[in-house]
């Protein structure tokens, strides 16, 4: 059975059918791209998977366990990380603390043991700091490690979000439009990083508007429209699929 399985997931807000009986599967160690025009329910899907919202019907499995109505933090603890379309840096902390927050799942210690600063806490904090700096280097923020996150530029904050999600060391990483609003150079760097993550054995589920990027890095692509999967398969198949083409030729008028 595959890493993540969505079975017949349906979600409707008052009146609007956001998702209609969506079924998807993500195999371990692959990069899955999800494309589709605005408002086709991509972000809603991510919210459902990461537990921010609950589906009206249908079930979601992650690592052979059902996570349909679990709390977000429980799902995260099972090893599912995500970034947000609208970046959410923890502005009241330094960059490195943002990363360390992401590693919270792997650190131990309750109120008292932290308060008395037991040796093991000390040790684990020191190791965590080392690792966090490594992650910062990976996302290219090592120079800014002590800066308050609120002071970083937009692109840096996006990278910081990515770093926080990676720090979770997740099995499955949901990236919600990671390249939106980045200059081309940074986009290339980003896609290199994503590929690198895949090599490290991480599975990635990617929503993106930039076709070329998705086509370049994704192993498999699902096209979304009006909350339904209209095409699924390898990039070339999807590129040739005519429903996708007409959707996008319609879409092209609105956004280039």
């Amino acid at each position: 059975m595959s890493l993540l399985t969505l079975a017949e997931v349906t979600k409707r807000y008052e009146g609007v059918q956001a998702l209609n009986r969506v079924s998807l599967q993500i195999e371990k160690g692959t990069i899955k791209g999800l494309i589709g025009p605005n408002g086709s329910g991509k972000s809603t899907l991510f919210h459902l998977i990461s537990g921010m919202e609950r589906p009206d019907s249908g079930r979601i499995f992650f690592r052979e366990k059902e996570i349909t109505s679990l709390d977000p933090h429980k799902i995260a603890l099972m090893g599912l990380g995500r970034t947000f379309q609208t970046i959410q840096p923890l502005g009241n902390m330094t960059a490195v603390d943002n990363i360390l927050t992401g590693m919270d799942r792997r650190l131990r210690g309750g109120l008292l043991s932290c308060g008395f600063w037991l040796p093991r806490i000390k040790r684990s904090e020191r190791e965590a700091l080392k690792e966090a700096k490594g992650i910062l280097e990976f996302v290219g923020l090592l120079g800014r490690w002590e800066w308050p996150a609120s002071q970083l530029s937009f692109g840096e904050q996006k990278m910081l979000d990515l770093g926080r999600a990676i720090a979770l060391r997740p099995e499955l990483l949901l990236l919600d439009e990671p390249a939106a609003g980045l200059p081309p150079a940074e986009v290339d760097a980003l896609s290199k990083r994503i590929l690198k993550l895949r090599e490290d054995g991480m599975t990635i589920f990617l929503v993106e508007h930039r076709m070329e990027m998705v086509m370049e890095i994704a192993d498999e692509i699902a096209a979304f429209h009006h909350g339904e999967v209209i095409a699924e398969g390898s990039p070339d198949e999807v590129r040739r699929n005519d429903r996708v083409i007409e959707t996008y030729t319609k879409g092209k008028k609105t956004h280039a």
């Binding site: 537990g51 709390d71 977000p72 995260a76 009241n92 360390l100 927050t101 210690g109 932290c114 600063w117």
Partner: protein, 364 residues
């Protein structure tokens, strides 16, 4: 990106007045520390300086009114420190901390006067009692946000007062409990203000180190994350509700410590000492000290205690003046005195540095 900010700064004309401002600001910013809350939260050299000052000052300035004021300030500072973990770090409002303070005070009063417990044991039990109150209250309440949370905690504080008044058999009702023995530990009776000063500030420093460790460990990061964005926190596996509850319980325990000390220093516990005004005072200390740093609440506590003592000389004008200063401080220092002054000073210093550099440039 630094360059951009520098240019914008140099647009702002340098005023001679700044020369007059900078001196008292600098002094005050020494007292009201750590302008940047999100600075690295490790121990620094200046902490040793603070410690030395705290230890030596009462010996140099042998005025027991000053000692007494510092004792009062210390008791407030303990609960303010606790609240700052809940308010400043976790970003939740509580207007009911006077209740936990009172719970601690009454527990100590009862245990020492009626059960004859040793002070130290009563001291610890009081904190435990306050903490368990907080746990029971917090579990339902903490799902509320913003104003409603503030109101719910406020309501809890009022209910606590009513219950205390209505159970004269246990708490002595409105008369309260008096004749509480001094804090005694290892044969030392803390009866003079000097001894009490060292007792209370010792406890305070202990709690400060404790909470500093909390803040620089994963717990503190969880608190900050929850206050910044609950969504982001939960997507990295931080249980939001649980974290809030932990912060609440811990701050209540601190307030319990403060209350217990209050009981054994004031030798009395009566309802009107734990009214809404105390809660507001504690919150005010945290705000003035600057949200999200640990020295702030202590500085704020000293500042406000000293302010009320100064105002006492103004007889019937004292409370109106106090209210006015209260509002003015909020309007001019909404993010804490230390913070504002810190920014101001750094702005000036860097302005001068820039100026000198420019002049050098001209010369060469």
């Amino acid at each position: 990106m630094g360059g951009g900010s520098i240019t914008t700064v140099s647009k702002n004309e340098f005023r001679k007045r700044d020369l007059f401002y900078v001196v008292p600001m600098w002094l005050l910013s020494l007292v009201l520390p750590n302008p940047v809350p999100h600075r690295k939260r490790e121990f620094q050299k200046r902490d040793l300086i603070y410690l030395a000052i705290l230890v030596v000052l009462p010996l140099l300035w042998r005025d027991f009114h000053f000692h007494h004021l510092m004792v009062l300030a210390g008791m407030n500072a303990i609960s303010a420190l606790g609240l700052s973990l809940f308010l400043g770090y976790t970003g939740q409002i509580s207007l009911g901390h006077a209740a936990f303070f009172g719970a601690g005070a009454y527990t100590t009063a009862l245990l020492t006067t009626q059960q004859g417990f040793p002070s130290l044991l009563a001291f610890i039990i009081s904190a435990a009692v306050s903490a368990s109150f907080a746990y029971v209250i917090g579990k339902p309440i903490l799902k509320l946000k913003g104003y409603f949370l503030a109101l719910a905690t406020l309501g809890f504080g009022e209910i606590f007062l009513v219950i205390v008044r209505e159970t004269p058999g246990l708490t002595g009702g409105v008369v309260g409990i008096s004749g509480i023995p001094w804090f005694t530990f290892a044969g030392i009776v803390f009866d003079t203000y000097l001894k009490q000063y060292y007792l209370i500030w010792g406890v305070l420093i202990g709690l400060l180190i404790f909470s500093k460790n909390i803040v620089r460990s994963r717990m503190g990061r969880a608190f900050l994350a929850v206050s910044a964005s609950e969504d982001a926190a939960s997507t990295v596996g931080i249980p939001v509700a649980q974290t809030k509850l932990k912060a609440f319980v811990m701050s209540a325990a601190f307030a319990g410590f403060g209350g217990s000390l209050f009981a054994s220093v004031m030798a009395t516990a009566s309802p009107e000492s734990f009214s809404l005004n105390l809660s507001i005072l504690i919150v005010m200390m945290v705000i003035l000290g600057g949200m999200g740093n640990l020295y702030g609440p202590i500085a704020g506590a000293i500042f406000l205690t000293w302010l009320t003592d100064v105002l006492a000389g103004f007889q019937e004008y004292s409370l109106p003046l106090y209210g006015m200063i209260f509002i003015l401080l909020l309007i001019f220092f909404p993010e804490g005195i230390g913070t504002r002054l810190g920014f101001r000073i750094v702005y000036l210093i860097s302005y001068w540095a820039k100026k000198r550099r420019r002049e050098k440039g001209k010369i060469e």
